[in-house]
Amino acid sequence: MRISIKLKGLLLGVVVLFVGLSAVLLTQLRVRASGYDELLQNPVRQADLARVAQVDFKKQVQEWKDILLRGHTPEDLAKYQKQFHEREAQVQEHAAALGSAVEDGESKRLLTEFSEAHKVLSAKYQAAFDAYIQGNFDFKAADKMVRGQDRPPTDLFDKVVARLDARVHEAVEAQRMSVAHHRNLALTIVGGLLVLLVALGFTVVHSITSRLARLKAVSDRLARADVDGLSIDISGRDEVGEFGESLRGVHAAIKELSTLAAGQASAAS
């Protein structure tokens, strides 16, 4: 095969390899990025939503305490009562949204249980509120009716948050493992192809340079007209082989010239 074709083939191989690897790496990058998007869209978002609902519930309980401690004027009472009911509605809304979003069966069950417990608690808060009004703002009696009642729903929601956090950690770990696996695979393939390419390139270059070195040695001897015992065994169907073939002609011509010169010298003597 001609040297120009070999070198062009090698260059083409490098380009094809580079383009192919770039395409594979870009595809992998897109797949990994979508994996992280998926992670952010589902487990992370659900855990965030759970924490928001958890904080809403804590604020609702705080609003109840504000009613008891600061709701002694009609204006304050109306204000804190309104805020309390807003928080109550937000808790229900966020818990329902989270319940429909989560895939984990146990989390779903805990959320349903929480919603039921929260509704029961709301009824108790309403009864305590009525007692508070009828008892001429007797906050002690009202507080006694609901004291500690928010603990069971709080515990249920803490469990939901803990489960969703655990799922986030699992998903992050799975994604990390997947990335590490694909990174190692890519490094192995790229490394293997690089070694193959280097070996192929070295073989091609060595085959050319070693024959060029022999050609140079022959050329040096012909330049000195040192043709005695010279054998030109450089063959092949490439440029080096063609050059070797030309040098065989030059070698024969120099030999012919030497023979004629020797003949004339002996005739003269």
């Binding site: 002609g249 030059v250 070698h251 011509a253 012919e256």
Partner: protein, 62 residues
């Protein structure tokens, strides 16, 4: 001994001189001394005939 191949050198040398013998060696890649030991094979004879024709044409005595 390849008498026919050596004969090409003798004839061409007498006809066209030293330059023609050198050109024959260049084209055939076989000098007259090597021609003595080279076989008178049909391929060699054909190569010499073709080369001689070219040299005669080039040197103006075809």
């Amino acid at each position: 001994m390849a008498a026919k191949l050596v004969g090409f050198y003798d004839v061409l040398g007498k006809e066209l001189g030293l330059m023609a013998r050198m050109k024959l060696a260049l084209l055939t890649k076989i000098s007259s001394s090597d021609a003595m030991s080279a076989p008178d094979s049909p391929a060699n004879i054909q190569l010499f005939e073709k080369s001689v024709t070219m040299i005669r044409k080039e040197l103006g005595k075809a």
